[in-house]
């Protein structure tokens, strides 16, 4: 009991130093994320805002409200792209959320175990497929189908984009909704069933409302994925150089594909303008993120008050 001497001095001194060093390392690592975000914002914004300042500045108003993108003639308008991006995202969410939610209900509430063991990995696979493959699929399957049915006789269209994006947001929506449906306490279901509600009624009147915050989060994340998708969309959007979309058969040129199409080639102001398009895209993403933070914040509050 008396060889405590080795502890006394050795420990406190020898251990203090690496403790501090490593805490510093961990903190620095955590700050890498912060620095990265700051760096991305600074570089993308400074290059993207450049054309709107200084001599022979391009009018920002013309940029943001413009309906034509023609770099060869120094015309840069992105309004029709913003509309295209928003419509494509909206379409994907309007289709994807109900389908995804109902599939989640199926997996969580109705499907027998053996089927779940098959469907869940399938959905995980769907989530893991590279977007280029979705693009190839859109180009090889969806576009030819729309070719046949479209009044314009052309497959590359808003509709094609919506179809592919819907498929791409499904895994996100399904897995998050499923998790939140499963998190609904069993007692809710029992209470509802005990009051004479049918299983379907229980699902739609009790379970889904109880899981709604999770479903909402899934939707917001789905919006994020849809608005940011690039390569798959680029192959099937049509990417017209101007004009607002008038129907689902119209071509669109989402913000992302505008950047990706010309980035390899562009130089000078043209390149700056692509960064400016990136700035607009970034702002949209920021809005989505802040919504998400607010949403999860509220979610947390609700959890606490329970």
């Amino acid at each position: 009991m008396n060889n405590n001497a080795y502890k006394e001095n050795l420990i406190s001194r020898r251990k203090e130093y690496p403790e501090k060093v490593f805490k510093g390392i961990f903190l620095l690592s955590a700050l890498v994320s912060v620095l990265s975000v700051i760096a991305i914002i600074i570089f993308v914004f400074s290059k993207g805002l450049q054309p709107f300042f200084g001599e022979d500045a391009y009018s920002f108003l013309e940029f943001i409200t413009g309906l034509k993108w023609d770099p060869g003639n120094d015309v840069y308008g992105v309004f029709y792209m913003i509309v295209g991006s928003l419509l494509a995202t909206l379409g994907a969410i309007v289709l994807g959320v109900p389908i995804g939610l109902l599939t989640a209900v199926f997996i969580a509430e109705l499907a027998p175990k053996e089927l779940v063991a098959f469907i869940k990995p399938a959905i995980e696979l769907l989530a893991g497929i590279p977007s280029v493959i979705y693009g190839a699929f859109g180009l090889g399957v969806i576009v030819p189908i729309i070719n046949e049915i479209s009044p314009t006789g052309q497959g590359e269209s808003l509709l094609a984009v919506i179809c592919v994006l819907t498929i791409m947001v499904l895994p996100t929506i399904i897995s998050l909704s499923e998790a939140s449906i499963r998190a609904v306490p069993k007692s809710y279901r029992e209470a509802s069933l005990g009051l004479g509600a049918s299983k379907t009624q229980t699902i739609f009147k009790t379970v889904i409302p109880a899981a709604r915050s999770g479903i909402l989060t899934a939707t917001v994340l789905g919006i994020g994925r849809a608005i940011g998708e690039t390569m798959a969309v680029m192959m099937i959007a049509g990417n017209n150089i101007g004009g607002l979309p008038t129907s689902i058969w119209s071509k669109v040129r989402p913000l992302t594909t505008n950047i990706a199409m010309e980035m390899g080639y562009a130089s000078g102001r043209h390149q700056d303008m692509l960064f400016a398009t990136g700035v607009i895209l970034f702002l949209f993403i920021m809005v989505i993120n802040i919504t998400l933070t607010k949403l999860t914040g509220k979610l947390g509050d609700k959890g606490r008050s329970k």
Binding site: M1, N4, K7, E8, L10, I11, S12, K15
Partner: protein
């Protein structure tokens, strides 16, 4: 009182944020004796035991005033938490062996304190397990996971793990609350064995347990020490009405 004083606590207050969990504690704890803390849930006894080896430091928002000395040294001012904890070991409410082999569990402490030699470690492990009265039960499965034995055995392995760092004091925070009666008895016997060498402080819900094994008992209520004295006296002739109510079961 011929006891040697191990700990001396004076004017100790502890706050979780705005909530005061311990109020003005003054107490002297004797060396190589068993001191029991009793009281209803939330009375502060567990909080108090954790101030003795500064485990409360790990919780955010805790503020402590007052003084605790061990062998006359202020444990908050003149000692760092790490070396304090190597001298004041702790056994927790739930048996919490690490997810490693029995051997590695017991050897964990010595290893982090820099002992690497296999034969020294072997010796410490065997000695600690013997002291914890579990050597015979596990000597053939030292390489097996510590999670694969019964709860009572796990708790004794945890005690052995504590003994392996050769502390002067062992804190036991309701060490038997998760165990069956037979395992409980074994731990109690063990505690009485160990007090020859160690100062033991035990928090317990079980009053019979306090009566059976402790030399001194403190009764906590709402963060205050209501009564502190020889166990015999507390149980047989409590001076305070609240103590009497609690001990006779009219309360809590």
């Amino acid at each position: 009182m011929s006891d040697i004083i191990k700990f001396s606590v004076s004017d100790l207050n502890l706050f979780y944020g705005n909530f005061q969990a311990l109020k003005n504690i003054n107490m002297k704890i004797a060396k190589e004796k068993i001191t029991a803390f009793i009281g209803p849930s939330g009375c502060g006894k567990s909080t108090f035991i954790k101030t003795v080896n500064r485990m409360n430091d790990l919780i955010e928002g805790v503020r402590i005033t007052g003084e605790i000395t061990m062998d006359g040294v202020d444990i908050y001012k003149d000692m760092d938490a790490i070396s304090l904890r190597t001298r004041v070991g702790m056994v927790f409410q739930q048996p919490n062996p690490f997810p490693m082999s029995i051997y590695d569990n017991v050897a964990y402490g010595p290893r982090i304190h820099g002992i690497r030699k296999k034969n020294v470690l072997d010796e410490i492990v065997e000695k600690s397990l013997r002291q914890a009265a579990i050597w015979d039960e596990v000597k053939d499965k030292l390489k097996k996971s510590a999670l694969a034995v019964s709860g009572g055995q796990q708790q004794r392995i945890c005690i052995a793990r504590t003994l392996a760092i050769e502390p002067e004091v062992i804190l036991m925070d309701e060490p038997t609350s998760a165990l069956d009666p037979i395992s409980t008895l074994k731990i109690e016997d063990l505690a009485t064995e160990l007090k020859q060498f160690y100062t033991i402080i035990i928090v317990t819900h079980n009053m019979q347990q306090a009566g059976r094994i402790s030399d001194k008992t403190a009764f906590f209520l709402n963060g205050e020490v209501i009564e502190y004295g020889e166990t015999e006296q507390i149980f047989n002739k409590p001076r305070n009405k609240k103590t009497e109510d609690y001990i006779t079961g009219r309360f809590g």
